[in-house]
C-alpha cells in the first residue's frame, strides 16, 4: 500500500477539509459527499482523513469492531476477549462490488471444506464504527444503492439469504465522491449525506504550483515529507479529540434554532433533516473552534455545505446551489 498523503499538506480546498473534520468531530452528522472534476484531490483527501481519526478501542478479532465483548455478534464465534486500540476503519466500497461482498454471504470456504454453515461478513461489517468510502458514488448500481440506503438509515445490516439469518450493527460515516458530469445521484441517497462540498481545481497558478510541488516532494521522499507535516497532523488530530470531548458542552439558545428553521424554510428543503444537520454541524464547528455556544457565524459557515444538496433543483439558475444558499443566508441572517 502507498502511504497516504498527509491531510494538512492539502493545499486550499478549505470547504472539503472543514467538512471532513466536522464529520470526524461528530460522526452523527452523517457523512460527506464530495463532487468535483477529475484530479482535484477528492480521493487524496478521503484517504488522508484516515490518519487524522482518533483510534477506537475494539475487541480483538471481532469482525464488526465491537467495543465490548458483549457487543460481539454470536455468529462471529470470536473467543478472544481482550480489547486493543486500532485505527478507525476506512473501508473502500468499489463500484461493481457484488451484493455478497457488501452485505456478506455464506462462507464458501467453510461450507465446502468442513460442511459448516457460517457467515462471511462483508464490507458493511468491516466499516462498522468507521468510514465507508465510495468513489464515483454517482455510478453505483441501483441495487447496491438500495442496500446502502437502508443500512445507512437503520445502522443495522440484516442478512436473510442462503439459509442465513443474521443481523449485525453497521454504523458508519458515508463518504462519497464523484464527478457530476458522469451522472446524477439519486435524491434519496443524496439526502443520506450530511454535508456536501463541491471542489474544483484551484484557479490560481500559484496555488496549483504549490499543489504540484508538495505532491512531487511527497512522491520523491514520502518519509521526509510526512516528517515535515507530522507536527501539523498531530495538531489537527488533537484538536479533533478535544472537540469530540467538548461537543456535549456546547450550548445553543432558541434564537439559533429559529435561525436554522428560518433558513431551511427560505430554501425550501424537504423534511427536517436539513435543520438537524445544520444544527449538528454548527455545534461540531463551535466545538472544534473552542467556542462555548453556537452563534450565527457558525451557522453562516456551515450552511453552504449542510444545505446546498437539499434544495429543489432550479434548472434556470446557473449560479449553482452554493451561491443560492449563500444568498439566502445573507438575507435570512441579515
Amino acid at each position: 500500500m502507498k502511504t497516504a498523503f498527509p491531510f494538512s499538506a492539502i493545499v486550499g480546498q478549505t470547504d472539503m477539509k472543514q467538512a471532513m473534520i466536522l464529520t470526524a468531530v461528530d460522526p452523527a452528522i452523517g457523512g460527506v459527499l464530495v463532487f468535483g472534476d477529475r484530479g482535484t484531490g477528492k480521493s487524496t483527501a478521503v484517504r488522508a482523513l484516515a490518519a487524522l481519526l482518533p483510534p477506537i478501542t475494539a475487541v480483538k478479532g471481532c469482525p464488526v469492531n465491537s467495543e465490548t465483548v458483549d457487543a460481539c455478534p454470536d455468529w462471529s464465534e470470536n473467543t478472544q476477549s481482550e480489547t486493543h486500540e486500532r485505527p478507525t476503519p476506512v473501508i473502500d466500497l468499489p463500484l461493481g462490488a457484488t451484493e455478497d461482498r457488501v452485505v456478506g454471504a455464506l462462507d464458501i470456504e467453510r461450507a465446502l471444506t468442513r460442511g459448516e454453515k457460517a457467515f462471511e461478513p462483508g464490507l458493511l461489517a468491516r466499516a462498522n464504527r468507521g468510514y465507508l468510502y465510495i468513489d464515483e458514488v454517482n455510478l453505483l448500481e441501483d441495487h447496491i444503492v438500495d442496500l446502502l440506503l437502508d443500512v445507512a438509515q437503520s445502522g443495522e445490516n440484516v442478512v436473510e439469504r442462503e439459509g442465513l439469518s443474521i443481523r449485525h450493527p453497521a454504523r458508519f460515516v458515508l463518504v462519497g465522491s464523484g464527478n457530476p458530469e458522469e451522472g446524477e445521484l439519486r435524491p434519496q441517497l443524496l439526502d443520506r449525506f450530511g454535508l456536501s462540498v463541491e471542489v474544483r481545481s484551484p484557479q490560481d497558478i500559484g496555488e496549483r504550483v504549490e499543489v504540484i510541488k508538495r505532491r512531487d516532494a511527497f512522491d520523491t521522499d514520502p518519509a521526509a515529507f510526512l516528517a515535515a507535516y507530522a507536527a501539523e497532523e498531530a495538531r489537527i488530530r488533537d484538536a479533533i479529540t478535544v472537540a469530540k470531548a467538548r461537543l456535549g458542552k456546547v450550548t445553543q439558545d432558541d434564537a439559533v434554532l429559529t435561525d436554522c428553521a428560518a433558513l431551511c424554510i427560505a430554501l425550501g428543503s424537504d423534511g427536517l433533516r436539513g435543520e438537524l444537520t445544520l444544527l449538528r454541524s454548527a455545534r461540531a464547528l463551535a466545538a472544534y473552534r473552542g467556542d462555548p455556544a453556537i452563534t450565527r457565524q457558525h451557522l453562516r459557515d456551515v450552511a453552504p455545505i449542510a444545505l446546498s444538496h437539499r434544495l429543489r433543483r432550479d434548472p434556470l439558475d446557473d449560479a449553482g446551489s452554493g451561491t443560492r444558499v449563500a444568498r439566502t443566508v445573507d438575507s435570512v441572517l441579515a
Binding site: G41, A105, R208, I212, D216
Partner: protein
C-alpha cells in the same frame, strides 16, 4: 522529420520513458485500431520491465482480486485459491479499452491510486471521437500514444553508450514545476494529475539521457509527450497580457515576486508552447469543442441499449463462471458438455451421470432496451388555435398510434393562457391520451417558456424512471407570456431562450414543429438552441406531419 516520423518518434520516446519508470508514470493509452502498426507498438512495449498481462474488459471480480477455485476445490477437497490479476506486479494490457465498463475503470483507478506496483496500457480502438478509454483512466496514465502512418525505422533515441540513471534520483527544479503547471493551465487542462505526470516524465527523460539534474530539454519533451495530447484549447499568446481567468485576489499580496518570476520565465514558456504546438495532433481544432456544447448524439430511434444479465431480449450465451451475479443457460451448458461425454466417461469411469466441467458453463445474457418516452409539448394558445390546432391534434393522434405499436410511453404537456399544464403524465394508454387531447381547448396567450420548463421536468422524471425521453414541440412560436405569467413579449422571448438552453442541457433529442401559416425564423433559432430538428408545416396535413416526425426521429 515528417509529421508521421515525428509521431512515431514520440511514441518510441514515450515507451522508453515508461520502461524507466513504469509505475510512477502510470502507463499509457494507445489509441490505434488493431493493425500491424499497433503490433509494432506492442512489440516495443516489451521493453517495460514488468510482465505484460492481458486483461479483457469483461473480467470478473474473482479474476481481479482472486478467489477460491470452486471446481478445483471440489475435486481435490482442498482449498485451492486462485491468485487475482492484481496479486503480482504487472504491466496490465487492457484490451478494447473503449469498451471498458465504468465499474472496471473505477476498480483499476483504485488499484493504481492505492498500490505502487502496476502499470496500465490501455489499448483504445475507438473509432469515433466520443468513443474511447474511460476518462477516469486516461487521466491517470501519463502518455497518450497514437502514432500516424506507417512505422519508421527506429532511430536511436539516445547517443550510444549513455547510461540510463534511476529516475528517482533525478532532481527537477521548482521553476520547471511551475512552468509545467502554468502550461497545463494555458492548454486548458484542469486536472492536476497532468502536470504531476509531466514532471515525472521530465525526470524519466533526464534519466534516459544520463542527466542527474533535469534540463530544459527534458521539461520540453515532457510537455510535448504528456501535456499536448490532453490539450483542450490552444495556448493563448503570451503577448496579450490578459489571461482569460481573472487574476485571483491572493496573487496580489505577493504580486511583485510573481511579476519578476513570469518575466524570467517568459522565454521558457514560449519555447514550451512551441514544443507543445508541434506535438498537438493534426485534427486538434476539429476535436476542440467550445465549452458547454459537447453533446453525445444519442439515437432517438429507440431507447438506449444496456447489457443486462437479468432481463431484456436474450443475446447468445457466453462461457463464464457462476459468480452469483449471472444465470446459467442450462441448455447451452448441456450442449457444450455433450460432445465430451464419451471421453470424460473413460477418464472417470467411477462417476455416473453427466460429466460437466466448469469450462462448459454458459451464462445467459440479455439486452435491455430502455423504453422510449415521447413528450409532446403542444401550443394551445389563441394564435395556434387560429392556425391549426386541429391539424396538430390529428398528427399527434397518428404519432400516438405509432407510439402504441412500438410500446413507447407518451406524455402530453399543453401550454396556454398563463402557464403550462401536464395533461398526461407518462403512460402507455392510447385511449386516455386521445381523450385528453380531444378535450384540449384553445385560446389565450403563448407561455412557451413555461411549456419548455415543464418539458424539462418531465425529461428528468422520465430518466429517473429509466425511460429515454424525446421532446416534440408543436407551436407557432409567438411567445408572448413570460415565465411569471405576465404578458410581456420581450421578456417572454428571453425566458423562452433561457428555458430552451436549460432543456438542451439535459441532452435530450428534440424536434420543433412549426405550425404557423408562415415559417417563423424565431422557431428555427429555437430549434438551433435546442440542438434539434426543425420542421415547418406550411399547409401540411396530419399524415404529412406524422410522416415527417417519424422520419426525423428514426433517422437518428
Amino acid at each position: 522529420m515528417t509529421q508521421e516520423a515525428e509521431s512515431w518518434h514520440r511514441a518510441r520516446l514515450s515507451i522508453a520513458l515508461l520502461a524507466l519508470d513504469p509505475v510512477g508514470l502510470g502507463g499509457a493509452v494507445v489509441r490505434m485500431r488493431a493493425s500491424p502498426m499497433r503490433d509494432a507498438v506492442l512489440t516495443e512495449l516489451q521493453a517495460i520491465p514488468l510482465p505484460l498481462k492481458k486483461m479483457p474488459p469483461n473480467i470478473s471480480d474473482e479474476q481481479l482480486y482472486g478467489s477460491i477455485d470452486l471446481s478445483a476445490t471440489l475435486s481435490t477437497s482442498q482449498i485451492i485459491v486462485l491468485k487475482g490479476f492484481f496479486y503480482n506486479s504487472t504491466a496490465i494490457l487492457l484490451t478494447m479499452a473503449e469498451r471498458c465498463p465504468i465499474a472496471l475503470a473505477a476498480k483499476l483507478s483504485l488499484e493504481l491510486d492505492t498500490t505502487d506496483k502496476h502499470c496500465l496500457i490501455a489499448l483504445d480502438e475507438g473509432a469515433d471521437p466520443d468513443e474511447g478509454c474511460p476518462p477516469a483512466l486516461a487521466d491517470r496514465l501519463a502518455f497518450h500514444i497514437s502514432p500516424q502512418g506507417r512505422p519508421t525505422a527506429p532511430t536511436p533515441l539516445v547517443p550510444a553508450g549513455t547510461p540510463a540513471l534511476d529516475p528517482a534520483g533525478v532532481s527537477l527544479g521548482e521553476d520547471a514545476l511551475e512552468d509545467l503547471t502554468q502550461l497545463a493551465v494555458q492548454l486548458g487542462i484542469d486536472s492536476l494529475r497532468a502536470p504531476l505526470l509531466a514532471s515525472r516524465a521530465a525526470k524519466a527523460h533526464a534519466a534516459l539521457f544520463g542527466r542527474s539534474v533535469a534540463a530544459f530539454e527534458d521539461v520540453e519533451a515532457a510537455a510535448a509527450l504528456v501535456l499536448a495530447p490532453r490539450a483542450t484549447q490552444l495556448p493563448q499568446d503570451e503577448h496579450d497580457d490578459t489571461p482569460d481567468t481573472p487574476p485571483p485576489p491572493e496573487a496580489e499580496q505577493d504580486g511583485e515576486d510573481n511579476d519578476t518570476d513570469t518575466q524570467q520565465e517568459l522565454p521558457d514558456g514560449d519555447m514550451l508552447i512551441a514544443a507543445v504546438k508541434a506535438a498537438l495532433p493534426p485534427d486538434i481544432l476539429g476535436s476542440l469543442v467550445p465549452a458547454g456544447t459537447s453533446r453525445n448524439a444519442q439515437g432517438a430511434g429507440a431507447g438506449q441499449k444496456r447489457k443486462s444479465n437479468r432481463r431484456g431480449r436474450p443475446l447468445p450465451s457466453q462461457p463464464g463462471r457462476l459468480d452469483g451475479a449471472n444465470r446459467i443457460d442450462l441448455v447451452a451448458t448441456l450442449r457444450a458438455a455433450a460432445p465430451w461425454q464419451p471421453i470424460r466417461r473413460e477418464q472417470r469411469p467411477d462417476v455416473s451421470g453427466l460429466h460437466i466441467r466448469s469450462s462448459d458453463i454458459r451464462i445467459k445474457r440479455f439486452q435491455e432496451r430502455s423504453d422510449r418516452l415521447l413528450i409532446f409539448v403542444v401550443d394551445a394558445s389563441g394564435s395556434a388555435a387560429v392556425s391549426r390546432l386541429g391539424e396538430a391534434k390529428g398528427a399527434i393522434e397518428l404519432l400516438l398510434a405509432q407510439a402504441y405499436a412500438t410500446r413507447d410511453h407518451v406524455s402530453l404537456i399543453a401550454f396556454r393562457g398563463t402557464e403550462a399544464e401536464v395533461l398526461l403524465p407518462p403512460n402507455k394508454s392510447l385511449v386516455q391520451t386521445k381523450k385528453r387531447l380531444a378535450a384540449l381547448p384553445g385560446g389565450g396567450g403563448t407561455p412557451l417558456a413555461s411549456g419548455l420548463l415543464e418539458a424539462r421536468a418531465m425529461v428528468d422524471a422520465g430518466r429517473s424512471k429509466g425511460l429515454t425521453p424525446s421532446v416534440i414541440l408543436i407551436t407557432d412560436g409567438r411567445a408572448n407570456v413570460a415565465l411569471d405569467g405576465t404578458p410581456n413579449r420581450a421578456q417572454a422571448r428571453t425566458d423562452a431562450t433561457r428555458c430552451a438552453t436549460a432543456l438542451t442541457a439535459t441532452n435530450v433529442p428534440s424536434l420543433v414543429i412549426d405550425m404557423s401559416n408562415r415559417p417563423q425564423a424565431g422557431l428555427k433559432d429555437l430549434a438551433k438552441t435546442l440542438q434539434g430538428d426543425y420542421i415547418a408545416l406550411p399547409r401540411a396535413d396530419a399524415h404529412k406531419l406524422s410522416a415527417a416526425v417519424s422520419a426525423s426521429l428514426d433517422a437518428r
